[in-house]
């Protein structure tokens, strides 16, 4: 029997370990190689791609600045509103979306559906919708329908000073009025920041962005006073509607500062609804040129007095109402014989004015027109302000000079005329009008007339109102008012003058201590065209409000007399209580006591009584006198008209 010796199995474990080790080493090297490739060779490229995915540029911008009146009342402000847009290719059911949107936005669903063309990638459905509509759309959660925040300019005072404020376009850029001229001042700034976003595209907050409010535009404070503005606009509306005029405009100026307190154009314009208006945003006060008519006579007379051509008492023969100059006839409304210079202003004689003007001469008259600011724009920050239309004196014929002396044949803006009158009211010193509020005193003043001359002219203007002049309807009891009427014929498109007029009235309140200048004009009034009849009463109404508000209007004598004479009608023979005996526990007896006394006592106990009936005297009460003070603080008083 042979035994075969078995060889022990060969130990391959070492080889295996080496093999595995090599495999691992290769794998690790592969990974390192890959890592090297990704990190080093392709690293910058991939980093760029990652940055594109995780970092995004975001523009941060503020809001347009506010516009305020002189007392801080808000005239214009930008707010955020929502706009709705659709990505038609993301919609599931076009008709369902159109139907829902139409219902929420109050639009015809078929029209909405027609606008949602599936071939388009983006469609605006409606801009600047209400918060309620935006919320309804959000709740519907329709695929493909999105909301986007947009800025919207709001004018909370509605039509107040609409033409002056102007408006902005859909991108928030001012395109009319002060919104346009102060666009750079009001416009917000913006900056771009890099912010991180997540996989869903949500942008994360970044500390670098800073405060969005720091990008807001600057606020603009105007010299306008909303209360005065309202008074002017209401008076203007009454005047235009009563006289059936085409348009009207007015201005109120604070004489000591030159601040414009009110700026009115009629028809009114509401900048909140620009699309629904048709050209009413035209700022006629600054843009429209008109022939001032008789309102120019005081300027001409001041120039003549300054040049010593005449004195207030110099008499001129007024040709009994008809006079021919250079073959053209000049007429007065009445057949005046001889009038002093004061009377020429008081009765508004064209012939007398023409004679003074001819004596003064074209170069001198033009020079004064220039000095009071009638041949160049006033210089307020407004778009398209007119420079007036006054030809060089070398081109004036004799009839041109005569016409210019009573305000025909020259074109001016209302602003220019207001500044000229401001010069007269300011002791002959030309003071620039101001539209933006500043605490600094007026600058750029220039003397045009001497104090004596301007006061002489002011005295003449006072006679127009206070004596038997053309402006008597502007009188206010207890206050001296200076004013001048204007009734200018309008040039006809076919040449010469037609049958249309411009009626105006300029007033200074009070004449002895000029504080307010009020100017108003209506264009093409029907059924009467005299400024002293159509416009003066409304200017007076504004004057009354201004003087009342500023405490400059004393109680009229006749009113005191009237109230005294009618006193028994209103005075009740009330029970004379020095003081009402008030107990801490029981109700006092209010019978026969005035309402004021009773209410004072009750309010002192924390009770606001319910009052029934008419009159000023308490007739009966509940709880009754002597009862406990009501725990529920309820009390009723009955009044009686006359004392029993």
């Amino acid at each position: 029997m042979s035994r075969t010796a078995q060889k022990p199995p060969k130990d391959r474990s070492r080889g295996k370990i080496v093999f595995v080790g090599v495999l691992f080493a290769l794998a690790i090297m592969g990974l390192w190689a890959r890592a090297y490739y990704v990190q080093v060779i392709k690293g910058p490229e991939y980093a760029k791609m990652a940055n594109r995915q995780y970092w995004v540029a975001e523009t941060v911008s503020g809001k347009r600045g506010q516009i305020l009146d002189r007392n801080g009342l808000l005239l214009a402000k930008t707010i955020t509103t929502q706009s709705v847009y659709v990505r038609p290719h993301e919609m599931v059911d076009r008709w369902a979306v159109a139907s829902q949107l139409g219902k929420i936005l109050g639009r015809n669903p078929q029209a909405v559906a027609a606008s949602l063309d599936p071939k388009k990638r983006f469609v605006w459905v409606d801009r600047k919708i209400s918060d309620a509509q935006a919320q309804a759309i959000r709740e519907e959660n329709m695929p493909g329908v999105y909301l986007d925040a947009e800025n919207s300019r709001q004018y909370p005072q509605g039509h107040m000073a609409g033409q002056l404020l102007g408006f902005v376009n859909v991108d928030g850029q001012g395109i009319e009025g002060l919104e346009k001229s102060f666009n750079d001042y009001l416009a917000p700034s913006s900056a771009k920041y890099i912010v991180q976003k997540d996989a869903a595209g949500n942008r994360l907050s970044s500390s670098e962005k800073g405060d969005a409010e720091s990008f807001d535009g600057q606020d603009l404070r105007l010299t306008i006073d909303a209360q005065v503005q309202l008074a002017l606009e209401e008076a203007l509306a009454r005047s235009v509607l009563k006289s059936r005029s085409k348009t009207g405009m007015g201005l109120v100026v604070d004489i000591p500062s030159g601040d414009i307190l009110a700026w009115g154009n009629y028809p009114l314009f509401n900048p909140n609804v620009v699309k629904k208006t048709a050209g009413e945003w035209k700022n006629r006060l600054a843009v429209d040129i008109f022939e001032p008519g008789s309102t120019l006579k005081p300027i001409m007379v001041a120039a003549a007095l300054q040049e010593n051509i005449c004195t207030p008492t110099t008499k001129y023969f007024c040709e009994n109402g008809k006079w021919k100059v250079g073959g053209k006839r000049i007429k007065d409304t009445h057949d005046y014989d001889k009038l002093t210079v004061s009377e020429i202003i008081r009765y508004s004689s064209n012939i007398g004015s023409a004679k003074i003007g001819l004596a003064l001469g074209a170069p001198a008259l033009h020079r004064y027109f220039e000095q009071v600011g009638l041949v160049r724009p006033v210089g307020l920050p407004l778009p398209g302000e007119s420079a007036g239309l006054v030809r060089p004196p070398g081109q004036w014929t004799q009839i041109d000079l005569a016409n210019a002396a009573f305000g025909q044949g020259v074109g001016v803006t209302m602003l220019q005329m207001a500044e000229a009158y401001l010069c007269l009211a300011n002791d002959g010193v030309r003071r620039p009008l101001r539209l933006t509020c500043t605490s600094e005193p007026p600058t750029g003043e220039q003397r045009v007339f001497s104090t004596e001359v301007s006061r002489s002219v002011m005295a003449m203007l006072e006679e127009v109102v206070q004596m038997d002049g053309t402006g008597t309807r502007a009188r206010i009891d207890g206050v001296r008012v200076a004013g001048k009427t204007g009734t200018a014929q309008k040039a006809s498109p076919t040449g010469g003058y037609g049958g249309d007029y411009i009626a105006s009235f300029f007033a200074i309140f009070p004449a002895d201590n000029p504080r307010y200048l009020v100017v108003m004009m209506v264009d093409e009034p029907q059924g009467g065209h005299y400024g002293g009849v159509i416009v003066a009463p409304e200017v007076r109404a504004i004057g009354v409000q201004l003087l009342t508000a500023s405490g400059m209007l004393s109680e009229p004598k006749e009113a005191i007399v009237r109230s005294q004479s009618s006193a028994p009608k209103y005075v009740a023979a009330v029970q004379k209580y020095e003081t009402i005996a008030v107990s801490t526990e029981n109700m006092p007896n209010f019978s026969g006591v005035t309402v004021r006394q009773a209410v004072e006592v009750l309010v002192g106990q924390g009770i606001v009584p319910k009052i029934s009936g008419h009159g000023v005297v308490i007739e009966k009460q509940k709880p009754l006198p002597g009862e406990k003070w009501p725990a529920d603080k309820r009390c009723q008083l009955w009044l009686r008209q006359d004392p029993s």
Partner: protein
């Protein structure tokens, strides 16, 4: 041998430190993103409140507008005082 042991311990310690630092970095990043989300949410809320405040301010100004007040006052039978009805208190 002792030096080899110390070196090994140093290596292990560095490895552990690296892991801790790495994890800390991840934790800080997660916290940063969480804070950014929270901050963004607060910013949005603040902006919404600001917008609402602006709208309420507009509404208030509209209600206090002289024209609106006058219209409502006239409906209530009120009117501007006449001269003789005004008493100036000095």
């Amino acid at each position: 041998m002792a030096q080899t042991g110390q070196g090994l311990w140093a290596l292990v310690l560095m490895f552990v430190l690296a892991i801790i630092l790495g994890l800390s970095l991840v934790w800080v990043n997660i916290e940063r993103v969480d804070s950014a989300y929270a901050l963004k949410s607060l910013e949005r809320t603040y902006q919404d409140k600001q917008d609402q405040h602006s709208k309420l301010l507009i509404e208030r100004q509209y209600l206090l507008a002289p024209a609106t007040l006058r219209e409502r006052a006239e409906k209530a039978g009120l009117h501007s005082p006449r001269r003789e009805q005004i008493r100036m208190i000095e």
